[in-house]
């Protein structure tokens, strides 16, 4: 004990090496390449050496054996490691991880992992019992996730500590200008004292002019110093914000840290089943709390194993179905606002619905002959613990894995869903709320509030001039790179106070993408980028869906973190609402457009139709009257200057006709005089819209007001 734990550094190094060996072996198995063997040899050799030094002969011997297996393949251009040697490598790898894991804090860490595994033996119904001999093979894989999960925080820490140190260095370097400022302040102080002395001594003789000049210069210097200090403090603040964010992020672990364990589980299950299965994973960078990730890792081990055992068909069957001989199991991790989604997709046979139905009926979960839809059957898998395992050779019933996944989801306040594509595979989705989440944010200001947008959803930012901003706000749309995007002013979405009469101001449109949709969010100003840790909204604080979570700023005040999915949905909805106010339940009355100009007719028609109205067209007042009498309209929209009868006359005649008098009319004209407007009102028009100031929002507002 005097030496203070001789294994301290070995433990860290060994974990790193075991990690690299575990990943390397799987790489070698899946895509053998020339440098993999040499890399593995290097790792094993380093481990052997280090283990010898600290007298860990068990580990050193295994590492040596590991080397022995690999050495013959060192010079092969494409190493061909026979299956039995591969298995031997995996076995040694497991043994080494076992020994290394045993070196670290003994009892407690193990307790976190076993629960999911422990649940495995009890659930099997009497039927899978004979499968017991087959069950052990995948079991040895179980220890693998333990070290994997436990190790993760440290590994994350080493990667991120560098970044944290960088950020701290950056923050310290920002102190220099403050120190300069202090020196400048001291100099100015001396100047003031000198000046004060001169004023006292000279009383009246020192010329006023020179004193004034000195004072003016001092005042200028002080002003400049003030500005410099403010700038410097701003920068220090920003850097500290960064430091804080990174430090908080150290508590979190990348999702990728569980991928090796999952990959290994897939490999082992495939091996036991005699199948060829490729494992793919994406989303390794999504970070979350280690506890959460541990639980999910436990559940997903079952899910991926199930996908191999029950999903992926035997090779001949795959070939017969026109699929590649090698099956694919992919795991995808994604952050969706305040949730994390873990998806496991396989390209196997999907759930066997007929077998499910049979089992459900046998167990009395389903009345024979009852018409249960595919989803209802799938739900039984999730809720009833039914397995689709058709034979006794299967390792574990699919239902058991689902039970574990469901328990984990329940424990974490999330949910599990299954999408079944019979014959083409299945997707199991585990969605859990995140408690702490590190993310990069774009700080934006809108309507006197500051909020953070998730930077990974931001595609680009576009500066908008005052009039562009006003137009985008009015139409709820923004043309961007040849595409029309829904436009949502953030101030509105945040219900922030907006000065209605304020001069339209320039701003920035932040183009956001989420859920395969792109929208533009209008903000007043961008205020920088920050690394932050988002935490869930507190209890008792129900919030709009555009709010994902909250972070704490440097002053300890909460700052809202926006939800990209919520913003996209809101922008989409607002934009649709603007287009067709409310798609009323009643069928709406058609609108008659009377105008001699083809362009105007088409323009008005497109506006009205996109707002959800049915539109008829007439090219003259006469034609308009004829149509008005042939059909019941909800509104007339008429030009004034037309050949034949003009718009005033058209409206006056409809008002004179008892059949048509109740239909409101809007005059649309380039005539802008008060006289014309008065005349319009006189003949009975309900509204008067000037073409020069044509504003489709205004027009639609009139129409919504007038039409049923």
């Amino acid at each position: 004990m005097g030496d203070r734990d001789p294994l301290r550094y070995f433990r860290i190094e060994a974990r790193e090496l075991v990690d690299q060996i575990s990943a390397g072996v799987l790489d070698l198995d899946q895509q053998p390449g020339p440098d993999q063997v040499s890399r593995l040899l290097r790792f094993a050799h380093t481990l052997k050496g280090a283990a010898r030094v600290v007298k860990q002969t068990d580990i050193a011997d295994r590492a040596h054996e590991f080397e022995e297996v690999l050495v013959p393949h060192r010079d092969e251009t494409t190493p061909a490691v026979p299956a039995d040697q591969m298995r031997e490598l995996l076995r040694l790898n497991d043994e080494i991880s076992g020994f290394v894991a045993a070196l670290s804090a003994p009892a407690p860490p193990v307790a976190t992992e076993p629960p999911p595994v422990a649940t495995e033996p009890p659930p099997p119904e009497p039927a899978p019992e004979p499968a017991a001999p087959a069950a052990p093979p995948p079991e040895p894989a179980a220890p693998a996730p333990d070290p994997g999960g436990e190790r993760a925080p440290e590994r994350a820490a080493t990667a991120d500590l560098d970044e944290l140190l960088d950020a701290i260095g950056e923050a310290s370097s920002r102190i220099a200008p403050l120190r300069d400022g202090g020196r400048t302040l001291a100099r100015l102080h001396r100047n003031v004292e000198t000046l004060a002395d001169r004023l006292r001594v000279g009383r009246t003789t020192v010329s006023d002019a020179s004193a004034r000049t000195a004072v003016r210069r001092l005042s200028g210097d002080l002003g400049a110093l003030g500005r410099r200090l403010t700038d410097a403090i701003d920068q220090v603040e920003r850097e500290l914000d960064e430091v804080r964010g990174r430090a908080e992020g150290l508590r979190l672990v990348p999702a990728g840290s569980i991928f090796t364990a999952l990959r290994r589980a897939v490999r082992d299950a495939a091996d036991a089943e005699g199948k060829r299965v490729r494992f793919q994973a994406t989303g390794a960078d999504v970070r979350m709390g280690p506890h959460l990730l541990n639980l999910i890792s436990g559940a997903f081990l079952h899910v991926v194993r199930n996908a191999v055992v029950h999903g992926i068909e035997p090779e001949p069957r795959r070939l017969a179905a026109g699929k590649p001989a090698e099956g694919t199991v992919s795991v995808h991790v994604e952050r969706r606002g305040r949730y994390a989604e873990f998806r496991c997709t396989d390209d196997g046979r999907g759930f066997d619905l007929a077998a499910l139905r049979r089992t459900a009926e046998e167990r009395g979960l389903l009345t024979p002959g009852a018409d249960a839809g595919p989803q209802a059957l799938i739900d039984l898998v999730l809720h009833g613990g039914i397995s689709t395992a058709p034979g006794v050779t299967e390792v574990a019933g699919r239902g058991i894995g689902m039970d574990v996944a469901r328990d984990v989801a329940l424990q974490l306040g999330g949910e599990v869903a299954i999408a079944n594509r019979p014959g083409h595979g299945a997707t199991v989705r585990l969605i859990v709320p995140l408690t702490l989440l590190s993310m990069n944010g774009l700080i934006v200001e809108a309507g006197h509030t500051t909020a953070t947008m998730p930077l990974d959803a931001v595609r680009r930012c576009v500066r908008l001039a005052a009039d562009e901003m006003a137009a985008a706000t009015a139409t709820a749309r923004l043309a961007h790179e040849g595409e029309v995007l829904p436009f949502l002013p953030l101030a509105g979405a945040l219900q922030a106070a907006v000065d209605e009469d304020a001069e339209p101001r320039s701003g920035v449109a932040v183009v956001l993408a989420a859920d395969r949709d792109t929208v533009a969010i209008g903000v007043d100003r961008l205020a920088g980028i920050t690394t932050l840790v988002a935490r869930p909204l507190p209890d008792l604080a129900p919030a709009a869906p555009v709010i994902a979570s909250v972070s704490i700023d440097l002053d300890g005040n909460p700052r809202l973190v926006l939800d990209a999915h919520g913003l996209v949905a809101e922008a989409r909805q607002e934009s649709t609402t603007a287009r067709s106010d409310t798609v009323s339940t009643r069928p709406r009355m058609p609108i008659l457009v009377v105008d001699d100009s083809l362009t105007t007719r088409m323009l008005e028609r497109s506006i009205l139709e996109s707002a959800g109205y049915e539109v008829d067209l007439a090219a003259s007042g006469e034609e308009g009257l004829e149509r008005a009498r042939s059909r019941e309209y909800g509104l007339y929209l008429s030009d004034i200057d037309m050949p034949g009868i003009d718009g005033f006359t058209f409206v006056a005649r409809t008002k004179a006709d008892p059949q048509l008098a109740h239909v409101p009319a809007i005059l649309v004209s380039s005539r802008a005089s008060a006289e014309d407007k008065r005349k319009g009102t006189e003949v009975g028009a309900s509204a008067y819209v000037i073409k020069g100031e044509f504003n489709q929002e205004e027009l639609l507002a009139h129409i919504r007001r007038l039409i049923l």
Binding site: A493, P538, D539, L540, A541, P542, D555, G556, R559
Partner: protein, 184 residues
């Protein structure tokens, strides 16, 4: 020896009693007195039992939180914790446009801040000055978060019961089964 021991133990007891009398100064008062905060919410005078709160703070920045609850002013930070802040005047059914300046933390969990406009003071009132309204229990539902009145020199003030207010907020936020309705 025995005498010295007796004196020693006696001394110790006296000292303990002496210290004890300082350690628990309010116990005897508590039975007859009540510590109250006198406040104004939306221009109206109220009183709050100090024992039902866990802190009073002026000018705490509150980040507005858009959402379905108009009474929810937003979120405030307290030592790294994020606390929802509700407007007392709005909860009491007479919201005003003015932004409340003061914030009282309600005792209990989850954290809850209640904002009011003015703090008149801190008074100790005799329990005899508390007027329980007749049918207090039966009338609870209708009266929302007010429980009784206190007679003070400036006139009588309704007492805002913090647990009842908390229950109301829980109901508004969908945190618990709806108990009290918002007073109309």
């Amino acid at each position: 020896m025995t005498r010295a021991g007796t004196v020693g133990s006696r001394l110790r007891r006296l000292r303990t009693d002496f210290d004890q009398s300082f350690a628990e100064p309010a116990r005897s008062h508590d039975e007859e007195h009540l510590e109250l905060l006198t406040i104004r919410a939306g221009g109206r005078p109220y009183a709050i039992r100090l024992s039902q709160t866990s802190g009073v703070h002026p000018d705490r920045p509150v980040t507005p939180l858009p959402g379905p609850q108009p009474a929810l002013l937003g979120l405030a930070g307290f030592a790294g914790a994020v606390v929802p802040v509700y407007d007392l005047a709005a909860l009491l059914g007479h919201p005003v446009a003015e932004v409340p300046r003061w914030l009282v933390l309600a005792a209990g969990t989850p954290p809850l801040g209640l904002a009011f406009h003015d703090l008149d003071g801190h008074v100790r009132s005799a329990t005899s000055d508390i007027i329980r309204e007749s049918g207090d229990e039966a009338g609870d539902r209708r009266r929302g978060s007010l429980r009784g009145l206190v007679d003070l020199p400036g006139g009588s003030r309704p007492i805002i019961d913090i647990p009842a207010t908390r229950a109301m907020v829980h109901a508004l936020a969908g945190h618990a089964q709806a108990g009290d309705e918002e007073p109309s």
